[in-house]
Symmetry: C2
Subunit: 434 residues, 2 copies
């Protein structure tokens, strides 16, 4: 069988008889001439049908019928992309008898989000959704490429765990051969243990949070881009590596998914060589001075504060990104390293991107005695963490790391209202299918 | 602080005063001079200590103490690697007060596997284990690189699912906000749905099998390298792509982990341009003729058959790999495409590698009516699969794919007796920690 030509390459084959294959995206029957739009994984092509017999063969073929088309690639200034296919022969590969539940040829799907998600198998074929998930794919590739180049080793750690990572709340329980077990809330413990092995590790994988939230920015299963690195001075080494990873992801989107960037009309952010940072306490002072809202003494930022600070960083530094550093220890997990100069504050950070917290990270404790003390202070028993604590008992360097939520990053980058639009098959309080 | 030099690069710095950092791998105190072996993520370096005061400072420092060492890099023919560090100053970064539970400086860990697995945080630091998991990391990178180059898009699909993928047995049950749910046994349904979107997709992620086996070749959570591709003629297109992926993984091991390949003294397999194949029925005939064992009429191969056939392929073709194609439909899942010429047999394959089944794959059904008939024949209700079936209802091309078990592949490649040795933190019938 003759090789397929991708629709995106059609312009390179003008004057040739080519084979295309894909989905019947749209068919406009006009008097005398009809226009068929064929969609494949690279885009769409216009096929001109003049022969009534060819057109009649398509009677009853609904949108999404799979077709194989042979025809002449012809330059045509008025065709989309400047090229079209004429004198086609059309083979119906897979007939579709019923009209699909969504009209994919429209610039935007004319349906409410729950309906779109219910029909994911069809909805994801929309060029806009294809573009979103191509970006996500490119982001993962760029992330891995950057970290590998910096000497990181990729790991895959278990998602079935014997105890909750950070707190007993918000974990999904499993029946593990009659014993209780849980789904991992993060690879935190494992990536730290692996710093003792490879010094620098990363993981791209699912994490599970049983938070009963029904908001536009939470799902209960998402993809976490984690890394962890040893022999650091403090959290600033992690922030510098994260800055490289962000830059690497954006570069990969530009290189590997330029059509997606163009389709979505994205202004990809500039990542400053050094992302500006502000101390948590200074941030609350700033908010108080500029807005009159006194949140000083609060242990965390509210979403409105994050938006204010991002706007401030944009104004002050022209940056879409802002690090907030030095969060109070009280709201951070037990393995957080304190700021040696101000022990009530931590060597930790959040990264804000265009108004949203995107990444949490920091330096971790590395001394065994510090772990025992931190667990005791929180009335947690070291026994449940024996396998993890062994890493510290037998020599761990100063280290730290962070975790980026992939779907949140893509949603904010594209400017989506709901994180579910950046999740292939979202899982939430009410949704387990498809 | 002065930049670290990796131990593997020490030879490039002879004549310089360098900084190394890592773990105290071994300390041999001799009269007059002592030898300290420092281990970092790239290897080990020998440090010569002659000053009694420096040696005294290491009193009480157990193996795995984290050190920062400054010293002169000196050519020394008798040192491992031809270079050593002299006149050191040594900073104790993280002291270790107790001897570790395993002696990492020995060529092999002198302990039974359960003990090794219990102490994973320490055991994984052994150079042999580092080499094994570096190979796994390189394999993942090579897999992704090959598939991306062939136009595949990476996806991440949910691991929490509403119904079992292939059969009701062998799934782990979850409490999902009070509703029953399950851990995905494979991304099968999702990768097929995504063929309707991107035509070619791959996923690297965890899969979960609640099989109550306690064998050396089963674990209950493992990493599956999946791909699925559309617009194929039949399963041979999948086999050709898989052949490329295997070649890509081996090339990546050679390029990205040459030290691991050397340490493990691996003979990496040659992947034939076309891997030999044998029909399932012919394979049983061959076994009958050559061994006298009559398994004709059996629906599947026994492990001993797989070993026999691999040895035969090695003899006959000089190949470590053998495709067995055309398995009976009766043992294959409902979405399997039959061989049009022999409907009791399938367009499916297994790949044998050095005596072990490593990959299962094949062509899938693509017509909606065929799915309805296949489900009805197995007395399964289409309602439970509505979101999946929608992909076929609205146009799917002929397609197929396969899944490679990462840990099994690495174990067989390295010649490990137990798949747990190729699993960072194995999960089995009896093991949930660390």
């Amino acid at each position: 069988m003759q090789d397929r030509v991708w629709t995106i390459h059609l312009g390179q084959h003008t004057g040739e008889r080519v084979v295309l294959a894909g989905w019947l995206h749209r068919l406009r029957r006009l008097s005398g001439v009809s226009f068929l739009i064929l969609r494949d994984r690279t885009g769409t092509a216009q096929v001109v049908i003049e022969d009534p017999a060819i057109l009649a063969a398509l009677d009853g073929c609904q949108h999404e019928t799979v077709l194989r088309i042979m025809g002449d690639a012809v330059q045509e200034a008025q065709a989309p992309g400047g090229v079209e296919v004429r004198n086609p022969t059309i083979e119906i590969v897979t007939p579709v008898a019923e009209p699909p539940p969504l009209e994919l040829f429209r610039p935007n799907l004319q349906a409410q989000l729950p309906t779109v998600l219910d029909h994911a198998a069809v909805a994801l074929r929309h060029p806009r959704n294809q573009a979103i998930f191509r970006l996500a794919s490119a982001a993962m590739a760029g992330y891995r490429r950057t970290l590998r180049a910096a000497g990181f080793t990729e790991i895959q750690t278990p998602k079935i765990v014997a105890s909750a990572t950070e707190s007993g709340a918000n974990v999904f329980a499993i029946d593990y051969f009659g014993r209780p077990a849980y789904l991992a809330q993060s690879p935190q413990f494992y990536k730290q243990m692996m710093v003792g092995v490879f010094e620098r590790v990363f993981e791209v994988g699912p994490v599970f949070r049983a938070e009963p939230h029904a908001t536009a920015r939470h799902v209960n299963e998402y993809v976490s881009l984690d890394f962890e690195m040893g022999f650091i001075d403090d959290h600033h080494d992690v922030m510098a590596m994260l800055t490289c990873a962000l830059e690497g992801m954006i570069a990969a989107m530009r290189e590997a998914a330029p059509d997606a960037v163009a389709y979505l009309k994205l202004a990809l952010p500039q990542v400053p060589a050094v992302i500006p940072e502000i101390q948590f306490a200074d941030a609350l002072d700033l908010i108080w001075r500029e807005t009159g809202e006194d949140a000083r003494g609060e242990p965390d930022l509210a979403p409105a504060h994050e938006r204010f600070l991002s706007a401030w960083a944009q104004r002050e530094y022209g940056s879409d990104f802002l690090f907030v550093v030095g969060y109070p220890m009280v709201k951070r997990p037990f393995y957080t390293h304190p700021d040696p100069a101000r022990p009530a504050y931590s060597n930790s950070f959040d990264l804000l991107f265009r108004g949203l917290e995107l990444v949490t990270g920091g330096q971790r404790l590395h001394l065994y005695a510090d772990y025992l003390a931190a667990l005791e202070a929180r009335r947690m028993t070291p026994d449940s963490f024996a396998g993890y604590l062994e890493a510290f008992r037998y020599g761990m360097p100063p280290h730290g790391g962070c975790a980026i939520g992939l779907e949140r990053w893509i949603a904010q980058l594209v400017g989506l209202d709901n994180i579910r639009e950046a999740t292939l098959f979202p899982r939430d309080l009410n949704r387990l299918t498809p």
